[in-house]
Amino acid sequence: MGSRHYVIIGNGISGITFARQLRKADAQARITVISGESPYFFSRTALMYVFMGQMKWEHTQPYEPQFWVKNRIELHQGWVEGLDFSAKNLIFDSGERMSYDVLVLATGSKPAFFGWPGQELKGVQGLYSKQDLELMEENTQKPIKRAVVVGGGLIGIEMAEMLGYKKIPVTFLVRETRFWEQVLPEAEAELVGKHILEHQIDLKLGTELKEILSDEEGRVRGVVISSGEELACEFVGLTTGVTPNVAFLRNTDLAIGKGIKVNEYFETSVEDVYAIGDCAEFEQVPAPDRRNIEQVWYTGRMHGETLAQHLCNGPVAYQPGVWFNSAKFFDIEYQTYGQLASQWAPDSLRSFYWAHDGGRVAFRMQLDLEGKILGAHNFGFRLRHAFFDRAIRERWSGEQVIAKLGEANFDPEFFAPYYMAIQQAFQTQFGGNFPLPKRSFIQKLFGAGV
């Protein structure tokens, strides 16, 4: 099986991680990566920084062109239009065909639009691909008096920040009564909401988009919101989530739900065809705390790692570890580890929360009824991944976690030691018998205070 031809559709983080890991495990394999979006792998998470002049496009590419030559990973730019599973062939929109021995679908997502009237107008767009970035640059060339961003999630806030960089006033429509309601408890959502307002974003909570209005030339001229009010705007960003990019596979033999159906080995319903990353939908959730479709950078990377091992040294089933994620809301960094409920009954778990008076720094940890850690997240300061991964895997008690919080601190040297304030607050609220650390002489002299 030395020189099987592996063909990967999609050069995002899952497809590329798979290709790299495959090359490490199998020196013989012929590897081809196909993408219509861009010739080289780039970091989707950096699109906003290109828009804001913080990076150039070439900086988003983690590997130099020579890397692919050196590792004998063939890159093929083009859009796949159809698949012939019986002949093991891909058909490109140019009519060209390519044969494969093993096919890995890593086609990612596309922005989810929910059938709003006017969603196809000029000046209305999502933000996911390189093409979306280029479109957004084009759409914001002309002066814009107001932009409307729809959807209270992570891409929405990035888009608001991008528009803010161009000094475009933004109205941010969030259907829920608070920001990122599915994930953030009330206090944290309020903290982020306040920060959004600090950036002069007109945040409208509990507000839905009803209709997008057109001018004579088919460009957006305004939106109608759930109150019936009409808002004039020249740009609408639709960031109400993403959906697996599988439209071109719908009429094939592949079993497809919302995404491409796979088992724990990423096997699809067709032999020698696998699906990883955003486009894969697990028949059974990979872990009790996970969903059927995992659409974050980190899970895409893990799918790629795991499938490469499965195909070369298998069988290896996908078994995710302790959940983690991160984001940034304008100036406030956010990291999360393990499982945190956004809403909970008072007797279902114990929740410890500490927030700094400045309104930009906060920490929450949730414990089960025995006092063991379930998860924690932090805003405006940094905590060590390895520390919380271990604490949650080993089911440390909340007291143990807080007692050692100094080891978890990941802020730069001389920054305010927020962990000390958290330790103090925990002792006050939850008790606990551990010594409170004191600031060193150097820290007192030069370090920032809480």
Partner: protein
């Protein structure tokens, strides 16, 4: 831009215009007394005779004056050279000293006024311009927009800035006589500090220190929420102002050798040169202390401090070249080349310069202790070559002049022999590293983009590896620009500092090498 910033910019441009125009104002009239005062005793008679035709004549420009000087001196020297009478040749160039003495211009009669109009206006302008910089109202954070700026992204203004800096360094090193109008303006200040006359180096030191101060204020604004950057900037300003600028001048006032207590061989490449050794050894107790101090810095301070804190203790907290790079050069940090090819060039060049510095110094010492019988004049020629190629062309013209073209650490990355030495210690025996926070990297590339040393930080971070690189100066900007809190500069146990088998956290399916 609001009014205050516009006023600042206008003042800065005004000051820089006066600074640039001043060398073209004024005229030169040489007197016999000038020649006698400026020329060494052994040359006095001959030079007075040669320059007699110049005395009393009015020269309208520096160029004309220098042409007059050359037309008298060159034929004499050429004739001696042709006759191979090498020891008779007047090797000393009295151009600068005589031009300064002969100068008749506004900055000589009213030095303080012109100092205020040029450097003073530029400094005040720069200060006002940055006073309210990096406002919190705008989205995007402090690193946004650099690639949309015509100055910071090699646009026309960037090229002009670079050209101006390059031109300034070329004039400073090889045509200093053109600067005498500016030097006169700082004459009274020099008299106050050292009791002696001002040279082009005093002028340069003053401008250098003020530039670090003004752009340091910009750093305080930019990083007002970042204590690490604030302390680092304060440290740089302190060491430049006190150690590099004031203390050496004051030492001269007290008849002690001019000495920068924080400059370390081999960056301070003439530390072991014969004339330097003679000066220190004849400088009494303090001179000997300086010599011992300088040697202790090389053999104790560098390895010990670098072991505990990494080379950052010097490169981005103490060093003058680093100080300029971290303040004046900060707007250009993202222009460094991140390619593998650049890294290969870097390793050959910087270690090549280190080898050259060691060789030149070694030969000098051998020759010195052999009483110059071994190599004779050869070491002097080596010194001239090193001083020209490395000290002036590389460190000055390329190192600083190329900020707007190749980033702010060209010298530190490709040329500085001390950085090479510190880097070797940092790479092989140090507690310093940049820790990667587990599996949290999203490969966005902000760290690599904004690394002034051209390190591809992301290449390590995205594999969960710590960053241990000899070139890292520990500026801390990668940690600051990272949107996910992935990077932390740390001094910790040597164990586990370099992961050979990094495992990304969070995937229980396999534990694999990346």
């Amino acid at each position: 831009m609001k009014k205050l910033e516009l006023l600042g910019l206008a003042l800065f441009i005004f000051g820089m215009t006066v600074f640039t125009a001043l060398p073209f104002l004024g005229s030169y009239t040489l007197s016999e007394a000038n020649v006698l005062a400026q020329v060494k005793e052994i040359h006095r008679e001959k030079v007075s005779e040669l320059l007699k035709p110049m005395v009393g004549k009015d020269y309208g420009s520096t160029r004309a004056f220098l042409a007059g000087y050359a037309s008298q001196m060159d034929p004499y020297n050429e004739a001696l050279k042709a006759a191979q009478q090498w020891d008779q040749v007047i090797w000393d160039d009295y151009g600068f000293a005589l031009a300064k003495a002969a100068y008749q211009g506004p900055s000589r009669s009213q030095p303080w006024l012109w100092l205020v109009l040029s450097i003073g206006a530029a400094v005040l302008g720069g200060f006002l311009y940055h006073l309210r910089g990096f406002s919190k109202d705008t989205a995007g954070g402090v690193h946004a927009g650099v690639f949309h700026s015509p100055v910071k992204n090699r646009g026309l203004l960037g090229l002009l800035t670079g050209s101006y800096l390059i031109l300034f360094y070329v004039v400073l090193y090889w045509f200093p006589a053109y600067l005498v109008g500016l030097v006169w303006m700082v004459e009274p200040l020099s008299r106050m500090l050292s009791g002696g006359p001002a040279s082009q180096w005093f002028l340069y030191g003053l401008v250098y220190t003020l530039a670090i101060l003004v752009m340091g204020i910009r750093m305080f604004r930019k990083y007002r929420d970042n204590r690490y950057q604030q302390l680092r900037t304060a440290s740089i300003i302190f060491f430049q102002t006190a150690f590099a600028f004031l203390i050496p001048e004051v030492l001269v006032l007290f008849n002690q050798p001019y000495f920068d207590f924080k400059n370390i061989w081999p960056l301070d490449y003439d530390f072991f040169y014969d004339y330097q050794l003679s000066s220190l050894l004849s400088g009494g107790g303090l001179g000997v202390f300086m010599l011992v101090w300088g040697i202790l810095l090389i053999v104790i301070a560098v390895p010990v401090f670098t072991y505990f804190y990494g080379k950052r203790w010097y490169c981005s907290w103490v060093c003058g070249c680093g100080g300029l790079a971290e303040t004046v050069g900060d707007p250009f940090r993202h222009l460094s080349d991140k390619s593998l090819t650049a890294w290969q060039w870097e390793r050959w060049l910087i270690h090549g310069v280190l080898a050259l510095a060691v060789l030149v110094t070694g030969l000098t010492l051998v020759n010195y202790f052999a009483g110059f019988k071994l190599l004779g004049d050869l070491t002097n020629q080596l010194h001239s070559f090193y001083g020209f190629a490395i000290g002036s062309a590389f460190a000055g013209v390329v190192g600083t002049g190329f900020y707007p073209l190749m980033g702010n650490r060209v010298w530190c990355r490709f040329g500085c022999p001390l950085a090479a030495y510190l880097g070797i210690v940092q790479r092989f025996k140090s507690r310093f590293r940049i820790t990667t926070n587990g599996g949290q990297c999203i490969s966005c590339g902000n760290c690599s983009t904004h690394c002034e040393m051209g390190i591809d930080v992301r290449a390590y971070a995205q594999q969960g590896q710590n960053i241990v690189r000899s070139s890292c100066v520990g500026c801390g900007v990668c940690a600051s620009v990272c949107p996910r809190g992935v990077l932390k500069l740390e001094n910790d146990n040597e164990e586990g500092r370099i992961h050979d088998f990094p495992i990304l956290i969070g995937n229980n399916s396999i534990k694999l090498k990346l």
